[in-house]
């Protein structure tokens, strides 16, 4: 049976990138590898829309989040954590682990933190040294208005840290224009690679904090060392360099399409997915949905875990469920990276067939047709 990976990460990897991963391993400290890393970093700057250096870490995205906190914030300082799901919670946990006082601004899962809430928190905590936000909250499918957050934070001494792990490339994200001080992503989402690398841009405002931080608690994630190595096209420690080589292949695809065109295409696919699910009577879980994944509530009469199991076993469609308290209650369809509009149609078609089989009242084809309508109306791109 043909398998389709439709989760919000790891995502499918293009065949050319996979083949690159099967090429023989070379030595990592050579002029060729330094040249390659420099090119990759330049491509990443384009993808991030930043003139700041983009550092390459051999870790999951969480390593990048930790690097931001451990390098920029001295223990005893305060950080405002905007929490709308599991990954907002992760910011809070990292702050706690490094002795930073987290000021939590929380909304129920499925909601998004509003700019007014951040404005109030900044007023109440003028001593906050950072604001930790999430572009796309992968656990709920909610997006945040990072541009608005950026305008607020830029007017204060605080730094804006953004977890853009499932957001970057999957939806509009303008690191410099939006005043993002540290923007973090991982390899296994819209960058179309297997997991193993994290990437982070670091602004001048952040470097000033890093350079004056008397007690950075980082060695492997020491950003000053990473910056110094990057100047010679290198990394402080042995990096997952075959992944870096493969990244070049995926980045070429992105650059040849153009990032703004890609954002528009992503938005269109996301709109189609939402229309499809809603036409089937499935309610969107997030009130302010992200473009890289669509999350819907499982109808109360349907067993969500059984639904996902049938999709996988009967049709080779791998979608993700909810985590922790959302287990069995939501399904998450990824549509970023190497997942296109027709893969989304396949996902919707599978959901229709399985729901129909499970006795849920629907007319097969209506969800797919609704998605098609959206695609047709927004024109080919």
């Amino acid at each position: 049976m043909k398998q389709r990976l439709l989760t919000p990460g790891p995502t499918p990897v293009p065949e050319e990138t996979l083949l690159e991963l099967a090429r023989p391993v070379h030595y990592h400290r050579t002029p060729e590898m330094r040249q390659l890393l420099s090119e990759v970093v330049e491509d990443l700057q384009y993808v991030f829309q930043t003139r700041n250096p983009v550092l390459v870490l051999t870790s999951s995205g969480t390593g990048g989040l930790e690097a931001a906190v451990a390098n920029c914030l001295p223990p005893g300082s305060k950080a405002i954590c905007l929490i709308a799901g599991r990954f907002g919670e992760r910011w809070r946990s990292i702050c706690k682990a490094f002795g930073i006082e987290p000021v939590a601004v929380t909304v129920p899962y499925g909601q998004s933190v509003q700019p007014e809430q951040l404005a109030r928190a900044l007023q109440q905590h003028p001593d906050a040294q950072a604001v930790c936000a999430t572009l796309s909250e992968t656990s709920t499918g909610a997006a945040h208005d990072i541009a608005a957050f950026g305008r607020l934070v830029a007017a204060t001494p605080a730094l804006l840290f953004v977890d853009a792990i499932s957001g970057l490339v999957a939806m509009e994200c303008r690191t410099d224009d939006w005043h993002i001080d540290v923007c973090v992503t991982g390899s296994q989402k819209a960058l179309m690679l297997p997991p193993g690398l994290a990437f982070m841009s670091v602004s001048d405002k952040s470097w000033k904090q890093i350079d004056k931080n008397p007690t950075p608690r980082a060695y492997y994630f020491d950003l000053k060392k990473a910056r110094a190595s990057l100047q010679t096209g290198d990394t402080p420690y042995t990096s997952a360099h075959t992944l870096v080589r493969a990244l070049k292949v995926s980045l070429k695809k992105i650059r040849s399409e153009g990032i703004e065109k890609l954002w528009t295409r992503q938005a269109r696919v996301a709109a189609a997915a939402r229309a499809g699910f809603q036409t089937l009577g499935l309610e969107l879980f997030p009130s302010q949905p992200a473009d890289g994944l669509t999350v819907v509530k499982v109808p109360p009469e349907i067993d969500g875990t059984a639904l996902l199991g049938k999709l996988e076993k009967q049709y080779g469609l791998k979608l993700a469920g909810g985590q922790d308290q959302l287990k069995g209650k939501i399904i998450r369809l990824g549509h970023m990276g190497y997942i296109d509009q027709f893969d989304v149609l396949a996902g919707l078609a599978g959901v229709e067939l399985v729901l129909h089989e499970m006795g849920y009242p629907l007319e097969p084809g209506r969800g797919v047709a609704a998605a098609q309508q959206v695609l047709a109306q927004s024109g080919a791109r």
Copy 2:
């Protein structure tokens, strides 16, 4: 031109393992992936010769070294660092970064720290909470008598941390019998994978320290979280799971040969490499050489950087040079993992040809023949 990667890491990756890396990406949180990780961990326990859990980190080996220090040692504590090269120095730097007082026991590069030196340091510093050692010092090719260190440390409350990054599998290393409390290796050496993963075994004695450490300074490298996840065959954060899948292929090769047989074969190849170089009149750099790499001094009249350049350009042979103050002064030939005796003959043959061409007095063939003599005398295995 046929390329041969003969560096002490990254090392060549078997073709079957490379092909595994080109297989489609699957979701990472599935019963199949949990089963696979559990099998891989069991294989790693065999390879480490330990009954302790072996944790899988998505990082370079250095991440594993940091994890040992950051989790086991409270700030203000003391650690004896045995320093015979760049990687011994790394232990000291990590300790400093985490507020641990390093007590350095140093020997000149090329030498190995002797058990008597450690015995004295332990007597002088009975309050040391750890001893940081290196099985194979990759920067100099020196081996350490970890078995002897282990007997000494086991009689004290201190923990024995061993950087076995270029040593594990490449030479005898019996984690439990030798009382190693934390043994760390990386994927890109004798385990025959690209870089990107670190593996570490953690003893009961270490867990006791970890569990009572009031101030672990780790989030991404939090070993308690890693231990808890491992119990369900998982990792706390998204791991480089396609590398884990590929590791299974490489581990199968190791298990089918048998670790003791492999150690013997490694020792035999190392002896052949040493005999070959010495017959050419090249002096061994380490006084107590490791089995995974052979490091020799470049004759004073020869430009070491030019020698390595010619090997690469004219013959496709990639050997490593010295780092920092040893640049141009030594050459390092790796012979671990997927580098066998005949690859070593190729390396020796190339060195003979290039040295001859550079006007160094030698009779081409004598080094290769001497290596062959050693291989013949020690019999096929």
